[in-house]
């Protein structure tokens, strides 16, 4: 299944998700995260997209996973956060 969403993060920026997912297994096959946010270093989003592959489409688990990736890699996001990202991803599924 392919789907996309546009989500304005409260007090943040617009995040646009393109999601390819396995409907039965409820898992991410491929994801692209675009938007007018800021991320440091610039590879952060590509790393995040890569590490979200195969992850389960469950909002709380996604938030935890994204926070994990951010802290392990010392990423810094401005106008973007784990809650907003997870919400944008889940909007593709609903």
């Amino acid at each position: 299944m392919r789907s996309n969403s546009v989500y304005k993060i409260p007090n943040g920026k617009l995040v646009k998700i393109n999601l390819e997912y396995d409907k039965n297994k409820k898992k991410i096959i491929n994801i692209s995260i675009n938007g007018d946010f800021f991320a440091y270093p610039e590879e952060a989003i590509e790393v995040l997209e890569e590490k979200l592959i195969d992850k389960k489409l469950v909002e709380n688990e996604l938030i935890k996973k994204i926070e994990d990736i951010i802290s392990k890699n010392n990423f810094e996001f401005i106008g973007l956060n784990s809650n907003g990202l997870a919400k944008g991803i889940m909007m593709c599924v609903k």
């Binding site: 920026k13 646009k16 800021f38 991320a39």
Partner: protein, 254 residues
């Protein structure tokens, strides 16, 4: 005696070259080859720049761009799509470790925007910083700004709108359908302003150069010394223009 930074004014460069120059200065400054630098520039032909994390096809009507001979380029900074027409664009390139630059990214936005606000004030336009990356005048956006940090160096660039044609802006920036488009145009009309709107007269680039320059000098307690790009920077600019910013692979990367 005040610290001296370099000041550049480059007019008539196209979008690829403009982005290549900012990146070339970033590299040169990170290697200690050039002092902190403030550059003012414009865009010829007019162009759209998109944020590093945006998808070109999602943001830009490429057919309309072609029709109006408007270029498009991906920036190395995040943020949103900008239609560069009648504006003064600035960039500042400075080591992350410089005492005038806050370590915290949000604080450094606010500090650098302080220079723009002082400059605007010098020309009679009252501006306030609106986090994350905007400057408002009369409650409306007059300046957008974007920062990246690479090689321990800060690059922030941004716009000061001199005049704005919202209809044209929205013929080239992509919005999903006509209904939303109408709504956005009226919304944006109400949200965006320009130096012309505020001062009620036409204002051109060269008129505000000195006052905007003074804004940086006042904010950072430095003297901006008129300079040129070095040979190394010119060479780097050519490389980045040819191998990055003018390339499909770069611009359509997302």
């Amino acid at each position: 005696m005040n610290e001296e930074w370099r000041f550049l004014v480059t007019n008539g460069y196209n979008a690829y070259k403009n982005m290549a120059v900012d990146r070339a200065i970033l590299v040169a400054n990170s290697k200690g080859l050039v002092p902190p630098t403030v550059r003012f520039y414009d865009w010829s032909p007019y162009a759209i720049s998109i944020g590093y994390f945006q998808s070109l096809k999602q943001e830009v009507d490429l057919e309309e761009c072609k029709k109006h001979s408007i270029d498009f380029v991906r920036r190395i900074t995040g943020g949103g799509a900008v239609f560069h027409e009648n504006e003064l664009t600035y960039s500042i390139i400075i080591p992350e470790s410089h005492r005038e630059i806050p370590k915290n990214i949000m604080d450094s936005y606010s500090r650098i925007c302080g220079a723009i606000i002082k400059g605007l004030n010098n020309i009679g336009v009252k501006g306030i910083y609106q986090p994350i990356n905007d400057i408002l005048s009369d409650g409306k956006k007059i300046s957008g700004n974007a920062q990246t940090r690479k090689h321990k160096t800060v690059l922030q660039h941004g716009t000061i709108l001199l005049d704005v044609d919202v209809e044209k802006m929205f013929s080239v920036l992509l919005v999903p359908n006509e209904k939303i488009k109408d709504k956005l145009i009226s919304d944006v009309k109400q949200r965006v302003t320009s130096v012309k709107n505020i001062l009620n007269r036409d204002v051109v680039f060269k008129e505000i150069v000195d006052d905007m320059k003074k804004g940086f000098e006042e904010e950072f307690n430095v003297d901006l010394m008129k300079g040129e790009l070095t040979k190394k920077e010119i060479q780097l600019t050519e490389e980045f223009e040819k191998n990055c910013f003018s390339k499909k692979e770069w611009n359509f990367k997302r």
